[in-house]
């Protein structure tokens, strides 16, 4: 028996931190939501109140879904791909959505439901192409998906730029579409469409949550997972498809909001540990809260507003550093 290893480390008791962490996240979410509804450039002057409230509530719903879904998908993909640097856009779906949306602009019909539907169509096609590229002899490996996704991402981003040039649009538009925003204009039709997105997002995130244990096991490697009884082919395919559809739906309304899907899961892991059954729900709440907070700042700090993705980075990093230091 080798005794020299005992008693040289202090074990980490994570369970003590779980409840206060949940309280903290929920408080963050509630205050961000409240701020998002209470504060804005529109003001709350008399006759406009109803219209402004409508816009704010829609924006709130959009922010919750976008922040929540992106964080949950980021967490799931990080587990599936065994890669802490994965994010919802690794698979190239966001670029496909941007291409679909920009094509509706270039082809002259982007009003109403056309833009989000075009975006979703782009995402769908991208998903199918990435899947086909990643298939080798009937099997899909995690590495194959990542490679195919990254390649498609590059290709599609250039195509978006090309489409904008050919369509004689300013490149600034293409950049914003790929940078993400919560200021989507809604019409009667798109509100219904968004309602469907809300329902499907809840179902999709719920499904990913139900895959928590399989994702835990898969994060230790596909072969090990296979020996532990996980159907890695099925899990890989299913998580890929559900993630792509979720991201496609969100991105076709908001563009590619960066940072949330990559960093929020890590923040949550620092609070709860890496088990997906905690990380996935935690990521939804934290993602929604942080995104709403960033949006409030982005809209109100400077007249005319700042791009959302810049603010998400600026807001997320201090959180990250604070948590990192409090652990040490």
């Amino acid at each position: 028996m080798v005794n020299s290893e005992r008693g040289t480390r202090t074990p980490v008791h994570r369970n003590a931190r779980v409840v206060p962490s949940w309280v903290g996240l929920i408080l963050l979410f509630i205050s961000a939501a409240a701020l998002s509804v209470a504060v804005g450039p529109g003001g709350l002057a008399g006759t406009r109140l109803g219209a402004v409230m409508n816009l704010r509530l829609l924006r709130l719903a959009l922010g919750i879904i976008a922040g929540g879904v992106l964080a949950v998908v980021g967490a799931s993909l990080q587990g599936l791909l065994q890669n802490p640097l994965a994010d919802p856009f690794t698979m190239g779906v966001a670029s496909g959505a941007a291409l679909g949306a920009s094509l509706t602009v270039v082809l002259g019909r982007s009003a109403g439901a056309f833009a989000p539907l075009g975006g979703f169509a782009g995402a769908l096609v991208t998903m199918l192409v990435v899947y086909a590229l990643a298939r080798v002899r009937g099997r899909v490996t995690v590495t194959g998906l990542v490679l195919a996704g990254v390649i498609m991402s590059f290709l599609l981003s250039s195509l978006v730029m090309l489409a904008m040039i050919l369509g004689r649009r300013t490149l600034g538009e293409a950049v914003y579409m790929m940078m993400g925003h919560l200021g989507t204009v809604f019409t009667g039709t798109t509100v219904w469409l968004f309602g469907a997105v809300v329902v499907l997002s809840v179902i999709g995130c719920g499904w990913l949550f139900s895959m928590s244990r399989s994702l835990d096991v898969m994060s230790s490697g596909e072969e090990a997972a296979e020996t532990l009884g996980v159907d890695t082919q099925h899990v890989t395919r299913a998580v890929f498809v559900v993630s792509s559809l979720l991201v496609g739906m969100v991105v076709s309304f908001t563009g590619a909001i960066s940072f949330i899907g990559l960093v929020v899961p890590h923040l949550v892991r620092m609070l709860f540990g890496p088990a997906h059954r905690r990380v996935i729900p935690g990521s939804f709440v934290a993602g929604a809260g942080i995104l709403l907070l960033s949006d409030v700042l982005a809209r109100n700090i400077v007249p005319g507003g700042l791009p959302l993705s810049i603010v998400t980075a600026l807001v997320g990093v201090p959180f990250f550093i604070y948590l990192l230091r409090s652990r040490l």
């Binding site: 816009l55 082809l107 200021g183 005319g304």
Partner: protein, 265 residues
Amino acid sequence: MACPRQPGVQSGLRVVSLVPSVTEIVYAVGAGKVLVGNTNQCDFPEAAKGVYKVGDFMSPDLERIIALRPGLVFLALPIHRQLLEKLNEMKIPVYASRPADIRAVFNEIDTVARLLGRPASGESLVAAMRQRLDSVPAFADTPRVYVEISGTPLMTAGGGTFINELLERAGGRNVFAKSVQEYPVVDPEALLAADPQAILLLHPDMRAPDVARRIGWGGIDAVRQGRVYDQLDEDLFFRPGPRIVEGVVLLAKLLHPGQTGNSEE
């Protein structure tokens, strides 16, 4: 604005224009025949379409330009900076266009006309443009205007832009003139607060009725009054060339219906 290396003109001058607005100037001063190359985006007047294309405005092909053995190349800064350096190295005369406002456009027309040996045409063109511009009266009211450049996402033009100046000349007030960015993304709420009296849709994929269908926009003055203008020729507002004054006149007509005193309705 960089100065050309060889002022004056020689007969048989071969000119390449990499800037659609300058291409328009070249034809407007009657020097169209010296143009041996232009870009895919040079599409006005009709004759410009038939000229040999050296590539896109965004990324013209240096080899094609050189193959034409040009005696003068028109380009734009800052987008063609690298091209400018290469052409300087090869000692090919270059004129860089960078007009910041209407006055600068007039100057540019004069300069280009002189470079092409047609100073008189340049002067008369500028005179005609000034006259047309002066025909736009000073209006008593300056309605609030929202200029929409893109619908997905909503984008507008800030204070430092060309379109902003045109708007002011036409007697309008850009509601986003104070914006920090040149082309900011619009927060729909801010638009509601600004309550514009007229909306200009400067992108062809959206029509006026589409704007009325936007949730929360029904209360905006411009929407209620039906003063949403679509299907506008964007080149009149974005190309700093001879047609810029037409842009001002058009805007004046839209913003002040019945007041322009012109019989061209």
